[in-house]
């Protein structure tokens, strides 16, 4: 996984069964059924799509960053990465990726973490946890169901000396990541509204979300 291998998709947007643009700062929750393919497109570049994944039928089974990176022995996500649940099962698998590396250690922004990272007064700025909460509560779930997330299109390298750094994005306009559902899942996205971090040039932008039915090629 040293060289970023970019794998393109064969799927045509015209055949998608779901196709929408999620504006910056918005939350989203949607079912992706077993065998369906889900694509996130970074429309304008270096936008963070903070993503949670759940077993559609039992939200106590959910994406686990630690189980995922430990099962593949590598901290970055790209084509071939198995997105593993807290019970050790594969929820989804990344099948195409034109960005080449995605983060799952950096977590999601929150009012309270913004206070620590930037300034106590930043509490009032919109944040990913607020979007996660709204999306989860709309389906009857709650804060304790918020768990570790994936930051698609984010670049958060770890050094051999054990430092964690937020680097400029390696994504750009039109890059996408695509994954197939191994079981029926619910996907929650917070299209990050972060205005304090230079990663996105202080300018959150929209993403495009597409779903293809099972057995398309």
């Amino acid at each position: 996984m040293s060289e970023r291998t970019l794998i393109k998709s064969k799927l045509d947007a015209a055949t998608a069964i779901h196709d929408e643009v999620l504006p910056a700062g918005e939350g989203w929750i949607h079912a992706v059924k077993k065998g369906e393919t889900f694509r996130i497109v970074d429309l304008d570049g270096n936008q963070a799509a903070d993503t949670l994944i759940y077993n559609l039928h039992d939200f106590s089974e959910r994406y686990s960053a630690l189980d995922t990176i430990n099962s593949q022995g590598n901290i970055y996500l790209t084509t071939g990465s198995s997105l593993v649940s807290n019970l050790g099962n594969e929820l989804m698998r990344i099948t195409a990726d034109t960005c080449g590396r995605h983060d799952t250690l950096g977590g999601a922004c929150a009012a309270e973490s913004n206070q620590v990272r930037y300034a106590i007064e930043k509490r009032y700025m919109h944040n990913c946890r607020a979007s996660f909460m709204a999306a989860l509560m709309s389906w009857g779930h709650e804060k304790r169901d918020i768990t570790s997330n994936i930051n698609f299109f984010m670049n958060v390298p770890v050094t051999p000396e054990g430092k964690l750094t937020f680097e400029d994005g390696i994504s750009e306009a039109g890059k996408y990541v695509e994954m197939v559902a191994t079981m029926d899942v619910a996907v929650v996205i917070s299209n990050c509204p972060q205005l304090n971090n230079p990663c996105n040039a202080y300018n959150p932008t929209p993403v495009r979300l597409l779903i293809w039915g099972a057995h398309v090629s």
Binding site: G107, R144, S148, P160
Partner: protein, 238 residues
């Protein structure tokens, strides 16, 4: 050096778990008795159990991917649950997973209680669930933890490597509680430890009453983020 008053101490055998509410103003010193220990720990705000240790916030707020003296363990609510006030090891692993019954059986073979009595093979997830269940929590509440005494190094390609020999006999780490923190402790081996034998190591636990962090406290002043994290914890108790 801050003054400390011993409250109690005990030995935690290998493969065992323990839960304790580490009150604000107390500390827990964990000593690796034989070397090579692995001590998975997860933390909650005892008064608000939906507030829990958060790996991502802990790492990004301190720009680190390993933990040692001076670092704080953050909740998902921007507060410091505990700070690491002493450490002779130098590197504790916050990104490794924990063992499960299935992973232990696959790696070491199944060893049940019927045959092996208290030498049976346990796993961190089972032990964590058993302890947090006593506080009304479930698998939904397990999110992340720290593997104290273990070292995972990440190379430039992102690959993770377990570094043997990280902790020696007599090495210790001390956690000072900045809140009333529910601490869940286990002593199962790290899932990436290449040792083919199930040899969980015992540790010594020492609970002490300690002075409140001073203005020049090392953990508070490690970085501007920690100053604000301490402010958030202190405001909680006003």
């Amino acid at each position: 050096m801050a003054s400390a008053c011993l409250l109690f101490e005990e030995e935690l055998r290998g493969g065992a778990s323990f839960a304790h509410v580490l009150k604000r103003g107390t500390s827990l010193r964990i000593t690796d008795l034989h070397g090579g220990a692995n001590v998975p720990i997860t933390l909650f705000n005892f008064e608000l159990l939906v507030e829990r240790y958060n790996m991502a916030d802990t790492l990004k707020q301190q720009h680190t991917a390993h933990l040692t003296q001076g670092h704080c363990l953050y909740s998902d609510m921007g507060r410091v649950l505990c700070s690491i006030t002493n450490d002779t090891v130098g590197w504790h692993d916050p990104i490794g997973a924990y063992s499960t019954r299935a992973s232990v059986a696959k790696k070491y073979g199944a060893h049940d209680y019927q045959e092996f009595r208290n030498d049976w093979y346990t796993s961190t997830r089972e032990n964590f669930l058993r302890e947090i269940g006593k506080f009304g929590l479930s698998i939904r509440d397990l999110q992340s933890h720290i593997n104290f005494f273990s070292k995972l190094q990440v190379d430039l390609t992102g690959s993770m490597h377990f570094v043997p020999g990280n902790s020696k006999a007599g090495d210790s780490v001390e956690l000072r509680s900045e809140m009333n923190t529910l601490v869940i402790i286990d002593t199962n081996p790290h899932p990436l430890d290449p040792n083919p034998n199930y040899e969980p190591k015992p540790v010594h636990l020492s609970f002490q009453r300690v002075d409140a962090p001073a203005a020049d406290d090392q953990c508070r002043n490690l970085c501007p983020e920690n100053i604000r994290g301490f402010i958030n914890s202190e405001r909680y108790f006003l």
